[in-house]
Amino acid sequence: MDLGFELPNFMTALPEIFVLVMACVVLIVDLYLTDQRRTITYHLSLATLTGAALLTVLTSGGGAALTFSDTFINDNMARVLKLFIYLITAVVFVYSRDYLVERQLFKGEYFVLGLFGVLGMMVMVSAHSFLTVYLGLELLSLCLYAMVALQRDSVNASEAAMKYFVLGALSSGILLYGMSMFYGATGTLDLSALRGAIAGSSHNLVLVFGVAFIIVGLAFKLGAVPFHMWIPDVYHGAPTSVTLYISTVPKIAAFAMTIRLLADGMQGLHDQWQHMLVILAVLSMIIGNIVAIAQSNIKRMLAYSTIAHVGFLLLGVLTGTGEGYAASMFYVIVYALMSMGGFGMIILLSRAGFEADRLEDFKGLNQRSPWFAAMMLILMFSMAGVPPTVGFYAKLSVLKAVIDVHMVWIAVIAVIMSVIGAYYYLRVIKLMYFDAAEDSTPLQASADMRLVMSANGLAILLLGILPGPLMGVCAVALGAGH
């Protein structure tokens, strides 16, 4: 019987289907649970992520696989990034649990929205068409807007959610407008066909405008200057567990979106978007690092440091070489791990009725808990890019990629900015190690939180001693064939 259309190969998208089904299951199961039994939702969510990881590994045989009329691709980059998305989301859930319980936010909505967000990110990462990218982006964004607003009694959170929603909607619209310009000029939404169409045509003004609009949309999602205004307010206003989620996994997805759009689709217009990314990267590094120095709230400080890290990330992408893309992929993964640790430490120090989000709350941590002070030390030095932590190798990779295309002046600006940036990381270490503790209450964190936090910190150090395997994975995923 001829159906009139081809059934897509569902096996390629098996992880996504699994996450979708499980998210719906969690939603429904949670309806019947009382607050005391909410940990079932928590464990189901973790099980979903584990199952998705297993399925991703099981479907990883063979090279790139296209499905759903070539709008969905499952290649090495997609598999690797998805595995990290699952891992980091799982750790985010582990870190968040006690925090949410203490603030009466331990509701099923957090986990359901989180899982749908993961689904959105998986679709973004595996996108092979403008439409899929947009679909994943909107699914992720709507979940994030709602999660930020979850703490409905908090004025800060509501304001942050409004800002995020309005600005996010605006930038999504701009992104869509850019995509429509490409469709108008080339007649296709499929990224491979787009690549071919651009290579054929000369530098069409419509395409250049399209690139500009798309980069605006990407820059907003990543948080690059001058589209970064939402980051400090949203990171500060949202409850810390939501900030933890926003600052880590969506960056991986935004990076994937950038690669899919710019590298897979618009490589032919590289000369055009390279100049734009240079401006974005340099401004982000300068503004992110300098403004972070003025912050007294550690969530805002980490927000500005995120902007600076995005600047470094863009350095790898702007080179247009496979080496640069692989370097950026390594950077975004490392950044997500570091950011997870940084915000995780804030949660570790928080307890019922007390948010440990001011810098002074870290004073004397070496006296209160030398082990976690050491973990924070490793995280701060890693963010500053000091060896032997993995943050150094991330910076080394992007700098190497930039110097290999003979853009040494950008590398010089980048290193000078990273020295300026080192100051605010040193300030945190200074507070922990050189100042006396003002608040001597012992840390109240559950055993699993402490264990995972310790593993997080040690991973940053161990990856710093042996960064080769992770770098190799990124190089294989993105190095060749671009």
Binding site: P387, I403, A411, V415, V419, Y423, L426, K430, A475
Partner: protein, 505 residues
């Protein structure tokens, strides 16, 4: 017997593992266990570095005790270690000074003793790594990694302005070092690898050489430190605890000079030749001007800090006069005099300035002041200490018979061969050095007992005598019989000079 034992890896990783072990020992609040664990690890590391000196083949200039395994394969970065005649004395200096610093901090440190000892042990491993890394990125990792424990040492156990001093120290040296990173990545494009030995054979155009020279210069000049980027050193030295000052002066400064001789001179010799006047000028300014600055200091540690900068000026002078010497005399033997003198001066300065900081630490522990005005007539109440301090001061001046003389004399001889005026200016340092050191000794040690605090001083205890006595022995041995030290570096220095005078364009 020791063939196949990876001595260099042991020397690097044993102290680092020891540091971690000390941290775990410290978790149980047993101070004695912490001290003895730290001391045992330090002594065992020192014992493992001795074969580097005794089993070294003095006739060969190539790298020995080499270890080379792939490390970060995507970038072709290898875990490549090796030593030559220039690195071996520095490694021994590092392991010995760490033992002495651990003994010196025995009862003095009360706050977080385990973290203190662990920081020094970890730092020892990283510093030895700097001196034997033959892969540029591995070198950089150790070079920068060493900033972390030093930052913590100055900040946690230092003086009143320690936070300002340690952040200044970190940011200043970090800024210099990142340019080294850019230069290494740039060199990789020119040569295709991160292996330092391959850099020596690479041919690089003059413009590229000059850019790389300046990038290296920024990094190493801040570390040495050369005038005018020396301003972090007086603050760091003054505010650091005694052990921190000793390691900073004795070893960290040498890393900057080591960078000149391992990187700048052999990799970019043409740029070094055309810009040697710059380094010579900066070195002579350091030798003369900084000595005058030392003359007016009221703080004992600041005086010794400026004296350190002045003596390091000799070292960089000795390295860069080789071009002028070669132009005037035409053979490398006279040029070798300058370089060997500089290297001997590095070792001697390690002992002498380390010893001076330990002496200051001894009297500071008793008097809790570093102002020269608060002292006077220490010899009356602490005669043993006074005699040791005077000998160290005379070594600082460069009295024949002490190790300070050997290096300075060789460099001054070399400077005269290069240019009469260089020699004259370098020789004035002898007069100025004598001025500030002996005047300090006169005000602090000699004379009548100045006040009741001095009258109440007790002489050295056995631990302090052990530390200072060891250093006296070394200063006198190197001063009276420097031949073993010069022998070990001769082949490597000759080879270095052959590389340096060849053009690489």
């Amino acid at each position: 017997m020791l063939a196949g034992v990876p001595l260099l890896s042991l020397a690097i990783w044993l102290p680092i593992i020891g540091g971690v072990a000390v941290l775990f020992a410290g978790a149980r609040e047993n101070q004695n266990a912490v001290r003895w664990t730290a001391l045992i690890f330090a002594v065992v590391t020192f014992i493992f570095t001795i074969p580097l000196f005794t089993d070294f083949d003095r006739s060969s200039y190539s790298m020995q005790f080499v270890e080379n395994v792939p490390w970060i394969t995507p970038f072709n970065i290898n875990y490549h270690l090796g030593v030559d005649g220039i690195s071996v004395p520095l490694i021994l200096l590092t392991s010995l000074m760490t033992v002495l610093v651990i003994i010196a901090g025995w009862e003095v440190i009360q706050y977080k003793l385990a973290q203190y000892m662990a920081a020094f042990l970890i730092m020892e491993g990283l510093m030895i790594g700097v001196f034997c890394a033959l892969d540029a990125i591995l070198f950089y990792v150790f070079w920068e990694g060493m900033l972390i424990p030093m930052f913590l040492i100055i900040g946690m156990w230092g003086g009143p302005r320690r936070v300002y001093a340690t952040i200044k120290f970190f940011l200043y040296t970090f800024l210099g070092s990142v340019f080294l990173l850019v230069a290494i990545l740039y060199l990789r494009i020119q040569t295709g690898s991160f292996n330092i030995l391959e850099y020596y054979d690479a041919s690089i155009g003059l413009t590229a050489q000059i850019l790389i020279f300046f990038a290296f210069l920024i990094a190493f000049a801040v570390k040495v430190p050369m005038w005018p980027v020396h301003t972090w050193l007086p603050d760091a030295h003054v505010e650091a605890p005694t052990g921190g000052s000793v390691i900073l002066a004795a070893i960290m400064l040498k890393m900057g000079a080591y960078g000149f001789v391992r990187y700048t001179l052999p990799i970019v010799p043409d740029a070094s030749h055309s810009l040697d006047w710059l380094i010579i000028t900066l070195s002579l300014v350091a030798v003369v001007y900084i000595a005058m600055v030392a003359l007016v200091q009221e703080d004992l540690k600041k005086l010794v800090a400026y004296s350190s900068i002045s003596h390091m000026g000799f070292v960089t002078l000795g390295f860069f006069i080789v071009f002028s010497i070669f132009d005037t005399t035409g053979n490398t033997d006279d040029a070798a005099l300058g370089v060997e003198g500089a290297l001997v001066q590095m070792i001697s300065h390690g002992f002498v300035s380390g010893a001076l900081f330990l002496c200051v630490g001894v009297i500071y522990d008793r008097m809790h002041t570093r102002q020269i005005g608060d002292y006077g007539g220490v010899v009356n109440t602490m005669p043993v200490f006074a005699s040791l301090m005077v000998i160290f001061a005379l070594a600082n001046v460069g009295l024949p018979g002490t190790s300070g003389f050997v290096g300075e004399f060789m460099v001054i001889l070399g400077s005269f061969k290069a240019n009469f005026w260089f020699g004259l200016l370098a020789a004035t340092s002898l007069i100025l050095g004598a001025a500030y050191t002996l005047w300090m000794i006169k005000r602090v040690v000699f004379g009548k007992v100045a006040n009741d605090n001095v009258a109440a001083l007790t002489d050295l205890n056995r631990r302090e005598t052990l530390v200072l006595g060891t250093l006296i022995g070394l200063v006198l041995v190197v001063g009276l019989w420097p031949a073993p030290l010069i022998d070990i570096m001769q082949a490597s220095v000759q080879h270095l000079l052959e590389e340096v005078v060849k053009s690489k364009i």
